[in-house]
Amino acid sequence: MPEPGAFRDPELARKLAARIRALAEKLGRSVALMEVCGTHTVAIARSGLEGLMPGSLRLVSGPGCPVCVTPQGEIERAMAAARLADVTLATFGDMLRVPARGGSLESARSAGADVRMAYSPREALDVARAEPNRQVVFVGVGFETTIPAFAATVLEAREAGVGNFSVLPGFRLVPPALQAVLASGPAIDGFILPGHVSAILGTEPYAIIPDSGRAAVVAGFEPLDLMLAAEMLLAQLAEGLPRVEIGYRRAVRPEGNPEARRLIERVFEPADAGWRGIGVLPKSGLAFREEFREFDAARRFGLATPEVADPEGCRCGEVLTGRVAPKECPLFGDVCTPEDPVGPCMVSSEGCCAARYRYGVEGTSRR
């Protein structure tokens, strides 16, 4: 395997930057590329890649931050679960600080609820085994990268007969969100597709992108990966031949990971889901199949998801679909900061507002 730093080589980065500039010049018009994935948003902001991009090239963030698109009602449902007697609530760290009515999971913890941060649902299953008198509930958020881990953990819990483990399902699927962006979003010329979601899905679900005349490249997360994706997208546009290509071939196969998809399909079935600021998208989430409903914490504890309006003035929904840049939100950096966030795009470390705030890239585009 190449050295870990190989995909950060400054000389190769300069070479790609020159290619990108030349292709942008050849195109002779302004181009907007959307990075769909929140992990890409952070990688781009952190690496300062935009400084290497020509002025005619604009990068726009998409809806791929799981915490950001989780409706406030689901946060409140998780807080209700945390307050139940004998419940240990586990979740990923980014979920803890999302504000809702009555506080956050973090404030629920300060008030005495047993809320624990976990990196893997499997860790929570271990807690359930070790503490049989507790009901361990995992607040499951994530896209196709993360969902197979939950499917496999639920299957393991079933196999091992662990009766005190369940999941509050808040999973969301990337292709329906892309479809929503394509249908209603701004003028996007090409998509930087999420590398690790694609490691599971493969390329087939993205055919809707070239069908709509846009370019698409699956990208990795190192600076050279992202620059290569931009180069490939501009080349597609210059050729006038939009298609789906993989720029992250060391990790992504055209067929994805069929075993991971099989596990997802075994445990879950598609269900309509709400996306913060976007609304309900058909079949864009997952529900437990009847046979696995005992693992659905909402059902086990009779937890409803309240309908909650987004905070006043917060434009996260428009930011998430690339219609508004973070700086264009009147709350950005003033009322809404990472220390005292109003909306989820400022809470999650992967939210584009937080990335923009922390790495100091300003302006109506990112420059």
Partner: protein, 74 residues
Amino acid sequence: MCLAVPGKISAIDGRSATIDYGGGLTRPAALDLIPDARVGEYVLVHAGYAISRLDDEEAEETLKLIREMGHPDA
């Protein structure tokens, strides 16, 4: 949230593997999603599960592609 960390499988015990992340750091990961993985292979690990193999030849190919890129005659 879609961060995945590359590491090398140094041991396998049933469906669990020991992943070597270099610098003396090893951690367990589940192999449920790549059941036929073998010791010595590189994988990406996310949320405690190996989600994809890393292909050494493809990695070299991508670097070679960039190295050999000419300046476009725009």
